[in-house]
Symmetry: C2
Subunit: 764 residues, 2 copies
Amino acid sequence: MMRPGARQYVVSRPLYSEDSFAEEHEKIYRHRKTIFEHFRQYFTCDAKRAKNACLSLLPIIGWMKIYRIKEWLFSDIVSGVSTGLVAVLQGLAYCLLASLPPWYGLFSAFFPVVIYFFLGTSRHISVGPFPVLCLMIGSVVTRLVPDEGPPANITGFEGLTRDEQRVLVACSVTFLTGIMQLTMGVLQVGFAVMYLSDTLVSGFTTAAAIHILVSQLKFVLGLTVPGISGPLSIIHTLVIIFGKIPSSNVCDIVISLVIIVVVFIVKELNDRFKSKLPVPIPIEVIMTVIVCGISYAFDFRKRFGVDVVGHIPKGYESPMPPNLHIFQEAGVEAFPMAIVGFAVAFSVAKVYSVKHDYIIDGNQELIAFGVSNIFGAAFKSFVASTALSRSAVQESTGGKTQVAGLLSALIVMVVTLAVGFLLDPLPKSVLGAIVIVNLKGMLMQVGQIPYLWRRDKPDCVVWLGTCIASILLGLDLGLAAGLGIELISVVLRTQFPRCSLLANIKGTDLYKDRKDYINIYEPEGVKIFRIPSPLFFANIEFFRNKLVEAIGFNPLRVLRKRNKALRMIRKLLKKGDLQWTSKGFLNTSCGPIKETEDEDNTDDLDLPIDFKDLPVQIDWNADLPANIIVPRVDIHSLVLDFAAVSFLDISALKGLKTTLRELIRVDVEVFIVACDTYILEKLYGCCFFDNEVQPSTFYLTLHDAMLHILEKHPESTEKNLGNDRIRTTVTVPNPGGGVRSRERNVCVTTSIYTVSVIFSSAHY
Amino acid sequence: MMRPGARQYVVSRPLYSEDSFAEEHEKIYRHRKTIFEHFRQYFTCDAKRAKNACLSLLPIIGWMKIYRIKEWLFSDIVSGVSTGLVAVLQGLAYCLLASLPPWYGLFSAFFPVVIYFFLGTSRHISVGPFPVLCLMIGSVVTRLVPDEGPPANITGFEGLTRDEQRVLVACSVTFLTGIMQLTMGVLQVGFAVMYLSDTLVSGFTTAAAIHILVSQLKFVLGLTVPGISGPLSIIHTLVIIFGKIPSSNVCDIVISLVIIVVVFIVKELNDRFKSKLPVPIPIEVIMTVIVCGISYAFDFRKRFGVDVVGHIPKGYESPMPPNLHIFQEAGVEAFPMAIVGFAVAFSVAKVYSVKHDYIIDGNQELIAFGVSNIFGAAFKSFVASTALSRSAVQESTGGKTQVAGLLSALIVMVVTLAVGFLLDPLPKSVLGAIVIVNLKGMLMQVGQIPYLWRRDKPDCVVWLGTCIASILLGLDLGLAAGLGIELISVVLRTQFPRCSLLANIKGTDLYKDRKDYINIYEPEGVKIFRIPSPLFFANIEFFRNKLVEAIGFNPLRVLRKRNKALRMIRKLLKKGDLQWTSKGFLNTSCGPIKETEDEDNTDDLDLPIDFKDLPVQIDWNADLPANIIVPRVDIHSLVLDFAAVSFLDISALKGLKTTLRELIRVDVEVFIVACDTYILEKLYGCCFFDNEVQPSTFYLTLHDAMLHILEKHPESTEKNLGNDRIRTTVTVPNPGGGVRSRERNVCVTTSIYTVSVIFSSAHY
């Protein structure tokens, strides 16, 4: 029995190369599915799969089953009412960004929400208008139906007022966006959301928060600023706002500041006394009601010139088909809207799903938003995504499921159908202020920058790059730029791998960076080179350079020099200036032999060295006849540690093969160890091996390869062996128990080779 | 001494965790350079560095020193003359694509070449006009100075003829492109060329060849086709050409076919009899001269309506400053031109540098092209890159260095200054035919598709994607798309890693996929999970899912169930329905205990399990009191093999930590083995460890961790031990020599544990 506390690592087994291991241990043949079989399996249908598919298409079934009425319903009602009021206010506010009459924003806060209730997988996002999308719609709308001058030449515009034309444009674009999202969802392209890493999402949502902040500034300051979109629009908007600051409305600023301060403080209190309060105080709703009342009582609009919401017509309008001509005109603009709308919603949903620990499904979200937008567009609502601030309201007021969303839609419906007139006197600055104060959480993500910088610089660069690009270029281009930076960061992490030369930790089968430890052992003539990353197009050149640096010579150069030398020796032998005697080459010419300029084709210098028609093989490291000098090659074996090479691409394969061949041609034996099974299979499949590069160079572990090398080149260790033999007498550990400190240290100082020696002699 | 042929792997050493190894083997402190030190070193200047910098800025010094006059000069002269003639013809042809008067193409084939001679690192590319760039210039030119209607409102256009305005536009764009290239070169952004993998370059150059082929069709067919650029331009051009085919010129077609056939055959012969011919037959030149003579003699232009080169004015024009207003107008278009120009030249240069084995430097190439374009623009030449076909001529006619390029420029100069009139009767179809026949090599790259598909599917997708995108979208957008596909392919290779469960190969310290081998041993209660790729944002979720699948339970779910059960037991104990006796829990209530709906906050379900205020710790795998059921956890230890994990990003770090914590909270001990030193350092630096996740879970090798686990949980092996103990008697290998086949097989069938046992008992 093994003694507790002995803690010894003792192994005796045959030495294995990949070949000998495969010979001894039969591998089970496993049938690998082909691409077609995967496809067939994917499209196979049975009852269970069909049921699952239905369940995943209607996530409401899943969460309705676990709905805890007692605990959740009250929270959902409170949240739904608060969110509904915010949704009403935001609907009105954002609609102005889209250059449309305000009440269409109420439609956008109703129709898509109802559909999402059934199809969406996120329980906390508040579906509806999103300011950046509204800005994007606004740019299409004003392009096709400008404020001044005639509208674009589009069939279907005849007989419509300017506002009707604009609504037609907005709805058609929304319809197109919905179709794109639905298509992506059905094609299961949602897996691409894996690329939206936490870092990217954090940078992107921070930038989005800044965009929203800027878009609300004009309401808070009581200014009129035209909607601008496209790259650098945020700068232009800020320039306009700062230019107009002297004309800002003091009453609006006061209202906004009061609301921001009060809401902020009450929210902090809500957070602090979370456990003691039965439900968070719905401060936004309270403030809205109060300010609305005061505004009505003191007639803010007339007395202080405050911009208020104004008249809202009652009821819904009849549905309307989209315009195909507008599809053509605005197709290019609909795609980024589909992506940004989904990306924003998904990234917000992801934040909440992690916080509340449930699973959201990218494909189902795409389908949900696609259907929501298609359905909504028919009823004159425009592109729905989620507003970060409104989702924050829904979640922070205690919303547990989309029941809150549905209730918020009901509130919006009530406002549309009945009590819209009550909102007439509400100052727009109130809306702006509430939106801004809800951005706090998103804006606080800036605090991640120093955290990321200390921990992982590439991630920090991705965050900053995404955020800055999204702020400056707009969210669509910014997202693309962020994705690009993120993908490049992955490549960069492996582009400059820290290759190292390993050496044996004396007395063990372990190998570590030789620069890191003192008590290590490097057999002469052997180099162990560790590649700590996958090999592919971006780092194969780097790897080759590092390898040349590590072994101290360029194999191709050495090969060429040797072939040149050989050519010269042949020439001299032919001329008789050189003769072969039993003692070696004899220089028979009188003076020193002049190096003749080579006039031949240089192509065959890269071929393997060929000693035929020469009387003897030449020892390249000995002195050569006729003062010919070739660079010395000090190593006979090179071990490449492939343990961390997780994949190879074609460029790497070619580069690796070239390198191996060059090394083999200058008589360096190359061993590849700890290579992944699949990579080895791939090498066989790619005709990597030929009569020079052979599969017998593959060994199971580094130590196996080293033992093989030492057996083949006993001279490598002879120097060490002399010293170590004496020590072997003390290396038999204390038989009483664990080998402890002092004795063990002695054992540790023996070389690999002697470890083998001890056990060989002890047993056989 | 070790016996040759014994080939045994015998090791005895202490068992190491990372901690105990670090204790025993002191690490050398190595000062790592900070970013600032790297910067300082980079900008440090001494005599040697200054000299090297000068040499790299003037590559001509390097290759002039090794210039072998006897061998190379003749080849260079032949190549220079041939290339010069082709350059003259291409200059004239491509200039028409740029919508400029023909002779400006001759300037473009002269000025940039002279500068590149001094600054360029490629010895084989022929600098000068490139048809796709010419098309791109043409689109700017015709946008700002259209065929019909007034030119754009640009200061500096006053008093110029339409052709002069166009030349001004072309030169200004060229100047801007040059500045962009020079800036990129000085900022050392050339390292980005590493991203142009062989596969990408191959696909891209194939697409470029197809673009050129199409651009030459109209000359070969004798048609007039307007220059089109932008996405899908190739389709539009082909549609126009096919529409016009009935009106093509039979004489042009005959000339072209004859030239294509003759040149093709002679080039094949050149290739075949390469070794026998002193110099390849300059068939292009011969054919040009012959056809030019025939055309003059029989007056092709008048008799057959063949389109000929026509009048070329003599001499150069005075230099001209660029127009700043045009910089603003065409800035967005100059950038892709700078990139495409460089990318094409670099990719062609790379092909030849690999073929002829010398090094080209991306940054220096950028500087060379930047200066060439800035200088050229002043003398009314337009953007220079390289034409694939012309470079092919230069290389295949034997050009060894840029001396050939300089000579070609001299030929162009001679034509400009003196003998231009001789080219008057040359049919343009001759130019087109020669260009087309030289595309053969580039087009033959299509043959790589099946090769790549068989060997590496992602690479094949990159090739096809780049090629198709470059053909359809144009070379600028196509290159961007190709780069995107390539980057995504890198991420995709690691996004769905083939995680596997390992098991011990009996009698060894080796672990392999348990599905692959029959004779393997898995101790009970231990799972070994191998992660075969780096962990980062794109695969951390995948990894967690695979891990949950492999261990058979979701640790978070189990933790929550256990905490819920605990909460219920506490409640029952309080109520008195359950009592603790020496025999265990005793259910004292009469009926079965009803599961009460949980009304508390669910947040603390994720906390570690806390047994305080309970009389006993609960064994979760035993039957629980009161019919409470929690999922069974069958494993006590999990080993994660990190050997192939080459990096971790922040997302992966967070995900990994969450997973580890969840596992630890359900009493599964996690061991991470073979972790890279730098990753371990990073984990320390990122505060990965706390009082739950501890560094003592890291072990040096898989076998170390397994031995530790088996020591700690002897019950894991007891079942096996019974069988194996009997066998241990035969496992002492044959003392006479090598352990061969039959005996060894016996040894191999013992378990890990018994291997340790044999040696423990043998020695201590």
